[in-house]
């Protein structure tokens, strides 16, 4: 498994979209304002769901995306297949299937994530106010033996998040900047892959997440992300995540991101650094 599998997946996605023909959405939003698909399927960056809605659907339009994300760190691999639908640039619905391979230990963890996001107020690009959105991510483990063995309380859980995003067209160095802040209430252990709640804590915790990026030009963005995480299980300390990313938006059909990510220690295995790749096709 690896790059070749990712390429095959992306290729399949691309074919699927091309086959679906030109009778698609109207792509009414500006380039890159649909963002990418995050690891949990919601429109966002890589680790953080953003207040922006996926695809280029504007008022009164439909849009959607399919995406594949892949992370390869020291002892683990994560593959995420996701699809999203956007109506009116107001509602975003998403579905993601995560598979987490325990390369060193053997075995795998799987979960499905059903997401909905509602754009409450404001606009990413126009006006002074930020774009504000609220969202839910309902997560269901498909493999619970390991999470249960290490002390997780539930095999399903629902995250609630509130995000604010703003793009400054003429920011520092006369470049366009994007900032997104997200507050999430969650009981998930390692995004939910290790279940929900635990022996150390079984209540919702409020976590902060942030992404900051600068568009070098219309097509390239560089940035950083940070995601705070709770630590509910006593068997191993859970750590915050961060990454440094480069995103490429060659046109409104395709978006690609590459990141160097630091997931620190996961389930007791230290130094989980590595690469993250994401490809998204919009229709």
């Amino acid at each position: 498994m690896s790059l070749s599998r990712m390429l095959v997946k992306s290729f399949t996605l691309t074919i699927a979209v091309i086959a679906s023909g030109p009778a698609a959405a109207d792509f009414g939003k500006l380039l890159a304002t649909g963002g990418l698909t995050s690891v949990e399927g919601s429109g966002g960056g890589g680790l953080v769901p953003w207040a922006t809605l996926s695809s280029y659907a504007e008022e009164g339009q439909w849009g959607g995306t399919v995406a594949y994300n892949y992370a390869n760190v020291e002892d683990y691999e994560l593959g995420v297949s996701a699809l999203t639908l956007n109506y009116d640039n107001r509602w975003e619905f998403s579905y993601a299937r995560q598979q987490f391979d325990l390369v060193s230990l053997g075995g795998e963890l799987k979960q499905d994530i059903y997401g909905v996001k509602y754009h409450l107020y404001g606009d990413l690009v126009y006006g002074q106010e930020p774009q504000l959105s609220i969202g839910l991510q309902h997560k269901r483990n498909k493999t619970f033996a390991l999470p249960e063995a290490v002390g997780a309380r539930d095999d399903s859980g629902t995250d609630v998040y509130f995000s604010a995003a703003k793009a400054w067209l003429d920011g520092p160095w006369h470049r366009t900047w994007l900032v997104n802040l997200t507050l999430r209430a969650t009981k998930a252990n390692e995004m939910g892959l290790l279940g929900f709640g635990g022996d150390r804590n079984d209540s919702y915790k409020l976590q902060a997440e942030a992404s900051v990026g600068m568009f070098v030009n219309r097509h390239w963005i560089v940035g950083v992300e940070y995601r705070q995480k709770p630590s509910n299980l006593s068997f191993a300390e859970e750590h915050d995540w961060h990454d440094v990313f480069i995103g490429w938006f060659p046109n409104k059909r395709v978006a690609v991101a590459l990141a160097y990510t630091n997931l620190k220690s996961i389930a007791g295995a230290d130094n989980q650094t590595g690469m993250y790749g994401s490809i998204q096709v919009t229709f």
Partner: protein
């Protein structure tokens, strides 16, 4: 190692920033002549844009070009005075959607790319024009 490569790549991408800020926006756009040329290219982009061309059916192109040039000249702090009607009055009753406004922005970006206007100047102009969105959309 990976991190070093990432930082190096980031550094290379940011090199053009060194030449970013110089002179007034009016100068960066090539003064009156540059703006006039840019607006000509912009109008040609609009003319080929099926998403919005219907809004321009009865427009006097020469006057439109002159008004646009004057307006951008004034907005970029050049020595001009916009002599056209106020923006809300121009767009009243046109019921321009957000998607159509974005299409117009994309045509302008395309025109600026064609005229090889640096990204820094593009962003300065776009920020000024984006602030006028309320005087254009849904009127």
């Amino acid at each position: 190692m990976m991190l070093r490569t990432a930082i190096l790549a980031l550094g290379l991408l940011m090199t053009p920033l060194a030449q970013a800020d110089k002179g007034s926006l009016y100068q960066e756009l090539g003064e009156y002549e540059g703006i006039s040329k840019l607006m000509e290219t912009f109008i040609l982009e609009i003319a080929e844009d099926d998403r919005i061309i219907h809004h321009f059916e009865n427009v006097d192109i020469d006057r439109f070009h002159k008004m646009l040039t004057e307006h951008i000249c004034e907005l970029s702090a050049g020595p001009c005075e916009y002599t056209g009607k106020p923006m809300p009055e121009v767009h009243l009753g046109m019921n321009i959607t957000r998607a159509e406004f974005n299409a117009l922005v994309e045509d302008l970006i395309q025109a600026m790319e064609s005229e090889q206007i640096p990204v820094s100047a593009q962003n300065r102009l776009l920020a000024i024009l984006a602030a006028m969105h309320k005087e254009v959309i849904h009127l």
